[in-house]
């Protein structure tokens, strides 16, 4: 509830920080509700995010606000459906590498099209929506993602997904339509990522195909795994932790913050086997 009141009480910088962290939460949670139970480690986040962002850049000015966000969701969903059929036949690392390739593929295809056909690269967003609007949009997306994750866990669909993650062949023999479950959840996850990308784009004024950024994919994975991908709270904790840690390190240590970030990651991994969320659980279980 503090988050809802935030824009009123916080300065623009802290609001922006909260916005960025909420966006990360949305990405991490939507990544985890698919990749967590299914064990299909997706590195496609950057592709869906970028697609949503670029869509806003193209249509943004001509269309009233939340429509680009919906457009972002649709394009993320469409991309996932298109690629899912092939990608989800692959296992483990094959799936990971293939999905990583999507961002690069999207970027280069877009560059090729833009240079060849439209003769320009990149788009300006000349009349972005008000910061409050962006903030509430992202807040909604984060909230929806968490809600979806919670509902999915308890649903039949969610159980089927977990079953696929545990033993895919067995799940099939039990009569689960594994293809439908996998692709459907993948597409839902991608829809959120596309929507977040679309919502963040107005902050940057200028977008070019470099927005299809593999670091987004990596960062999302790190956040979710750090917090613990098997729970709903895990990715939230991971995103907030990493977001705040990065910002603090960035502001305090001009030349060493990457070192600090890397060491923090290493220490957390070595010290906390079940992620940050495991720490909380452990704390609760330890007798006082």
């Amino acid at each position: 509830m503090a988050l809802v009141a935030a824009p009123e009480i916080l300065s623009p910088y802290y609001r922006s920080l909260a916005l960025a962290i909420l966006a990360d939460v949305a990405l991490a949670v939507s990544w985890a509700f698919f990749s967590g139970p299914s064990r299909y480690l997706s590195l496609a986040t950057g592709a869906f995010f970028g697609a949503g962002a670029y869509l806003t850049a193209i249509v943004g000015a001509r269309v009233p606000w939340p429509l680009p966000v919906l457009g972002g969701a649709l394009i993320g969903c469409a991309m996932a459906l298109l690629v899912g059929a092939l990608a989800l036949r692959l296992r483990g690392p094959y799936f990971a590498v293939f999905t990583f390739g999507l961002a690069e593929l999207a970027k280069h295809s877009l560059i090729w099209y833009e240079t060849g056909v439209t003769g320009t690269v990149g788009r300006l967003i000349l009349a972005p929506p008000e910061p409050w609007t962006l903030y509430y949009t992202i807040l909604c997306l984060a909230g929806l993602a968490v809600l979806t994750a919670l509902l999915l866990r308890r649903s039949r669909w969610g159980h089927a997904l977990a079953g696929i993650g545990a033993d895919e062949e067995r799940a099939e023999t039990l009569g689960i339509d594994t293809t439908r479950v996998k692709i459907g959840t993948f597409a839902l996850s991608a829809a959120f990522m596309g929507a977040v990308g679309a919502a963040m784009a107005p902050r940057w004024t200028y977008l070019d195909p470099q927005v299809f950024n593999p670091f987004v994919s990596f960062q999302t994975v790190i956040m979710a795994l750090l917090g613990g991908a098997m729970t709903v709270a895990g990715p939230i904790v991971g995103a907030v932790f990493l977001g705040l840690a990065s910002e603090i390190l960035l502001l305090k240590f001009r030349y060493f913050y990457m070192l600090g970030l890397g060491l923090t990651l290493i220490v957390v991994v070595l010290a906390l086997p079940s992620g940050l969320v495991g720490l909380a659980r452990h704390a609760r279980l330890t007798p006082r």
């Binding site: 593929l105 280069h108 295809s109 090729w112 070595l270």
Partner: protein, 291 residues
């Protein structure tokens, strides 16, 4: 097709592919054997490159000779890192997925640490030197001597490793572990020691590739990641855990990329690579030679 063009494509492709093959081989050893997805793999390449750069520009050491330094040094570093970081994770006896995710996070941490270290030591300025940057006429076309040498050395190292795997006792132990981890351990092979060895060799291959690359391209602390990505693509293309797969996969990828650049435009180089990867995975979801 004009014969010079064919020579350009084939030789050019083998040059690029030879380099890809070596860096992929290193990653394959780590991932195929230990399921460690070392995203910091390319950072060791970057470090090897900088080490050779420094030795060459500060003391005039021949870049090829520096391999005698970067190779063993990175091997040692790999052993140490394995002991300090990965062995602990692998020994925790958890489910393989938890293992994978933890080692993935460790690797990300390592990536940040290494990049920052390189930044502090060498700064972000572009650095480079010219070595054997002369034309070499060959089969009716002309190629840079340094690229031919770099690819030649890379291929030689890859082949030497392959022979090592097939003939030596340690090599056999590695192969045994790759094929049947439980059986191999029952036969008395020390899992942790072989893992450490393979990790070290993998890192050394990456660093050596870096040393070779420093002869050809400018260096910044950020050149690592694209090579990690290429290595991943080659490993998947050739099949996880398959050494020959990585060798051939690297060469194939190099040929595809070079052909696309000569026959179409430079822009579609990456589109062609992923296109070929997709095609192969459609037909054979576990890679060309994967199980």
């Amino acid at each position: 097709m004009n014969p010079t063009l064919l020579v350009d494509i084939v030789v050019g492709g083998l040059i690029t592919g030879g380099i890809y093959a070596l860096v992929a081989l290193g990653l394959n050893l780590q991932y195929g054997l230990m399921r460690v997805l070392n995203v910091a793999h390319g950072e060791f390449l970057m470090m090897g490159a900088y080490l050779t750069y420094s030795l060459h520009t500060a003391w005039g050491v021949n870049p090829l000779l520096t391999l005698l330094v970067t190779g063993p040094a990175s091997f040692g570093a790999g052993l140490v890192l394995h002991r300090l970081l990965y062995a602990r994770v692998l020994a925790a006896g958890e489910a393989p997925e938890a293992l994978e995710s933890r080692s993935l996070l460790l690797s990300f941490g390592l990536l940040f640490v290494l990049q920052n270290a390189a930044l502090l030591i060498w700064s972000a300025d572009l650095k480079g030197y010219s070595y054997l940057s002369i034309p070499f006429r060959f089969l009716g076309s002309v190629f840079p001597a340094n690229r031919l040498v770099a690819a030649g050395v890379a291929l030689a190292v890859s082949v030497a490793f392959y022979v090592f795997l097939k003939r030596s006792f340690t090599g056999k132990a590695i192969r045994a572990l790759m094929q049947d981890p439980e059986g191999a351990q029952l036969a008395g092979i020390n899992l942790s020691r072989v893992h450490g060895l393979c990790f070290g060799i993998g890192i050394a291959m990456s660093a050596v590739t870096g040393s070779l690359i420093s002869m050809l391209f400018e260096l910044t602390p950020f050149i690592g990641l694209p090579y990690t990505v290429t290595a991943l693509v080659v490993v998947i293309l050739g099949g996880l855990g398959n050494v020959v797969g990585s060798l051939l996969g690297g060469l194939i990828l190099g040929l595809v990329e070079t052909a696309s650049v000569y026959l179409a435009t430079s822009d579609i180089r990456l589109i062609a690579s992923y296109g070929v990867l997709s095609l192969i995975l459609i037909l054979k979801p576990s890679g060309l030679f994967g199980r």
